[in-house]
């Protein structure tokens, strides 16, 4: 088994609250790995640790075998981990295309000099950002919105743009935090197809989602988190038949057990 991402004893506390507690996670390259758990379980905090947004209180994170535990978010992004945000964090007053162009920041190198004098490097970089950005927008079906302000898009479409922007960084590992939230069933079905296609093209994906149909449909493995701790890990079938998982959800009264 070749793990693209591993955590050892990963923990984060806020004051006395153990938001993530001694989590050992192993995500295999090429997998779609689901993270589920009731509200406040610590799923988003886990993503924030993996991407360097939070510094762990304890524990280690390895990406491709190298420790990235204390690296900054921008370093981690450069290494090939991209993410979307649960509470959408688009660049609101930028156009849709410009949002995606930011994703090419690490792949371009225009300096002040290049910008002042429009050197060939400037033109090359602009061409990369515009062409590839447009390609990605076309893939997610947003090309016709290229010139719109990001904040003018409907909610579900904004989530698509977040994915497009993350893809622009050419990641090896993509973290999706509740990508289907706010999407209607048709959009969700489309999203499932799209995520599967990305995965088939070789992208490893970790996905947090409350939509169990999506999770069970897509994931190779699922990690269940409750009160910051990993309480179970297994295949979708195993997770569905595990009593502790149903209890965790029932305890929160969040999901209908038949849906799990």
């Amino acid at each position: 088994m070749t793990a693209i991402l591993q955590t050892a004893n990963l923990s984060k506390s806020f004051g006395g609250l153990h938001a993530v507690e001694a989590v050992n996670l192993e995500v295999e390259r090429g997998h779609i790995h689901g993270i589920i758990g009731p509200n406040g379980a610590g799923k988003t905090t886990l993503f924030n640790l993996l991407t360097g947004t939070y510094t762990p209180s304890r524990g280690e994170i390895y990406f491709n075998g190298l420790s990235i535990t204390r690296l900054s978010p921008e370093r981690i992004a450069r290494l090939g981990i991209a993410r979307t945000f649960q509470n959408i964090k688009l660049f609101k007053y930028m156009s849709v295309l410009d949002n995606v162009k930011i994703g090419f920041h690490t792949q371009t190198e225009t300096s002040f000099w290049d910008a002042f004098f429009h050197t060939s490097r400037f033109h090359r970089d602009e061409r990369i950002a515009a062409q590839k950005g447009f390609e990605i927008l076309t893939r997610v079906g947003l090309a016709k919105h290229a010139d719109d302000l990001a904040s003018n898009l409907p909610y579900g479409t904004q989530r698509k743009l977040e994915i497009a922007r993350a893809l622009a960084t050419q990641p090896q590992l993509l973290l999706l935090d509740e990508p289907a939230a706010g999407m209607n069933p048709a959009e969700t079905a489309e999203l499932i197809d799209f995520i599967r296609k990305l995965n088939q093209e070789g992208l490893t994906i970790i996905i947090i989602e409350h939509d169990m149909k999506l999770i069970m449909n897509l994931c190779h493995r699922i990690t269940v988190i409750h009160h910051g701790e990993k309480i179970f890990e297994g295949t979708p079938v195993e997770v569905q038949n595990h009593p502790g998982v149903i209890e965790a959800y029932l305890g929160k009264g969040r999901l209908n057990p038949s849906a799990v």
Binding site: P73, A77, R83, F91, Y93, D98, D148, R165
Partner: protein
């Protein structure tokens, strides 16, 4: 790229600006025009910082002051040429901004704002008290006239063309940076710093670049001012001056290049029209800001849409941008 109509407008404005001194025989209005140019550089450079990365620099006058004193001291004591001092004053101002940036840009925005505010006052007080270097409250008189090919540039017309060229260069370079990878990174930082970092933007470094670029032009403006007035003193660089520049940015609208130009022009002309109320300058500016916040929070020139107007004119815009309001001016 710019449409034909846009090009025509640029071309005609350029002609009008070049001809201006030949229509205006009145030296007084020529001086007002020069001051407008100076304030356009100051307001536009502040806007690069406040409007594009969303840092809130309150102490722009401090960098302006450093530029002016660098130029005045080196010109009167060591006979440096005006043309050398223009970039040099900018560089010295930018060096100070690096110190401030290194100390504060990793912290919450409020620390940066407070530091720039304090910095501006510290610079002014230092200038007032370090008499051996700055002649203290007496100021520095007798700053020589700039020379070009052995000619003294003495008339207001000459200074008008100098400031016109500086303003043009400043806006041109700003526009080019803004519509490049660097400018996109700046705006991304303003819009959402966490997201920018997640995209791999080294936000600290890019905020520092931004501060350096913005304060450089404040230093250049200071140098121009020193040579234009031939006398400078600490009185010209009070916090009030900083607030005035800030007011121009806010009234004109931050986050786009034309806003501060309009703001600088209107707030330079306004007190000239109400000359007998000169001591009310700041009150007028304050009122202007309040009226703007109430009526048009995005400023006279509207809000900031980076490049969508320039890069893809062929694509139909579906829903017209109906953004009301800039991101708020919270530090």
């Amino acid at each position: 790229m710019a449409s034909f109509k846009q090009k025509l407008v640029y071309f005609l404005s350029a002609i009008a600006l070049l001809m201006f001194p030949w229509f205006i025989q009145n030296d007084y209005w020529l001086r007002v025009a020069i001051m407008i140019g100076l304030y356009i550089i100051l307001a536009s450079s502040l806007n690069l910082i406040n409007g594009y990365t969303g840092q809130f620099n309150i102490g722009h006058a401090g960098f302006y002051c450093i530029g002016a004193y660098t130029a005045a001291i080196l010109a009167t004591r060591y006979h440096f040429s005006f043309w050398l001092l223009l970039p040099l004053s900018g560089i010295v101002a930018a060096l100070f901004s690096i110190l401030i940036g290194l100390a504060t840009l990793r912290l919450k925005g409020i620390y940066f704002s407070m530091t720039t505010l304090g910095f501006s006052e510290i610079i002014r007080l230092t200038v007032l008290n370090w008499a051996s270097l700055t002649r203290g409250p007496m100021g520095i008189p007798g700053i020589p006239l700039p020379e070009l090919f052995g000619f003294h540039l003495a008339s207001n017309r000459h200074f008008y063309y100098i400031v016109l060229a500086l303003t043009g260069i400043m806006l041109f370079l700003s526009k080019r940076v803004i519509s490049s990878r660097i400018g996109r990174a700046w705006i991304a930082i303003r819009e959402d710093e966490d997201a920018a970092r997640a995209m791999g933007v080294e936000t600290f470094r890019y905020k520092l670049y931004n501060l350096i670029f913005g304060t450089f032009w404040a230093g250049v403006a200071g140098c121009f001012y020193a040579f234009f007035t031939s006398f400078i003193s600490a009185d010209s660089f009070t916090l009030d001056e900083g607030f005035s520049i800030l007011a121009m940015v806010l009234v004109g609208g931050q986050g786009n290049l034309i806003g501060p130009v309009i703001g600088a022009a209107s707030l330079t002309i306004l007190p000239e029209i109400f000359r007998n109320m000169a001591q009310l300058r700041l009150v007028i500016f304050g009122a202007a800001i309040l009226i703007m916040i109430y009526l048009r929070p995005q400023g006279l020139a509207g809000s900031s849409i980076l490049s969508q107007k320039y890069h893809y004119p062929k694509i139909q815009r579906h829903s017209p941008p109906k953004h009301q309001g800039q991101q708020e001016v919270s530090p």
